[in-house]
Symmetry: C2
């Protein structure tokens, strides 16, 4: 299988959430760096480390057959040359019923590899329903540090 | 006040957890980059963005007077030139009673600034009590990607 090459962390992030919505395990695992040190925390779950553990967890999630719609907002981007960290709100709804799930806050880290940008960390956790933030951060578009 | 300079992300992380244990707001805020884009998520809390919001939250936490003992373990370090991401388990106990708190998993990001390494992101969330991980990751010492 020819692997996708993501030219930017934004591209990798878009592919990550698209794979999540589609429940597509191959597309999901194309986004991740094939490394023993990748880290994934699903909301309320234990920390998983290593490509195989991360793959298994997504396969399990997708096997439920429940498709989600995920709208990402409030992105803050902290960008280095080799490594970029995004903090986002995930607004999740069931595709079948349209029912909103509890809000989730996520930290996503991407590494620049020889084959483009790949995800190396996804840390998602439940957030309170009413998110209090300054209006500045609620404005659209990513913020870049340097 | 003369600001501390942290020569490495490990130094900044050590200072972060020391400040947390001491409930020392000045020491805590020396660790953070003085930037509008810093991000902090306390366990179960909303995402806070910006130095002032982060300062206020720690001041509030420390004002409770309850001192914690925090032992960090299972560190995975994902290191770039300018930006480093640590994933850790926080093993928290009350200093007064010794009572263990629920386990926490945290993602910490550090930025190399003109004044050494500073924290730019702290994302902590509750973890299940029995943490399942491969023995490989439970070995001591940080893992470095590249």
């Amino acid at each position: 299988m020819k692997k996708s090459v993501f030219a930017s962390p934004q591209d990798a992030e878009a592919a990550f959430y698209e794979a999540l919505e589609r429940g597509d395990i191959d597309a999901m695992m194309e986004v991740w760096a094939d490394d023993e040190e990748v880290v994934c925390v699903h909301p309320g779950g234990a920390r998983l480390a290593g490509y195989e553990a991360v793959l298994k967890s997504w396969a399990q999630i997708f096997a439920s057959g429940q498709r989600l719609r995920v709208q990402v907002s409030h992105q803050v981007a902290l960008s280095g040359m080799m490594l970029t960290v995004h903090s986002v709100h995930e607004n999740i709804a069931m595709q079948a019923s349209g029912r909103q799930a509890a809000p989730v806050v996520a930290t996503n880290a991407y590494l620049r590899t020889a084959n483009g940008w790949r995800m190396i960390l996804h840390h998602a956790s439940p957030a309170p329903a009413a998110v209090q933030e300054s209006p500045r951060v609620q404005s659209s578009g990513p913020k870049v540090l340097h």
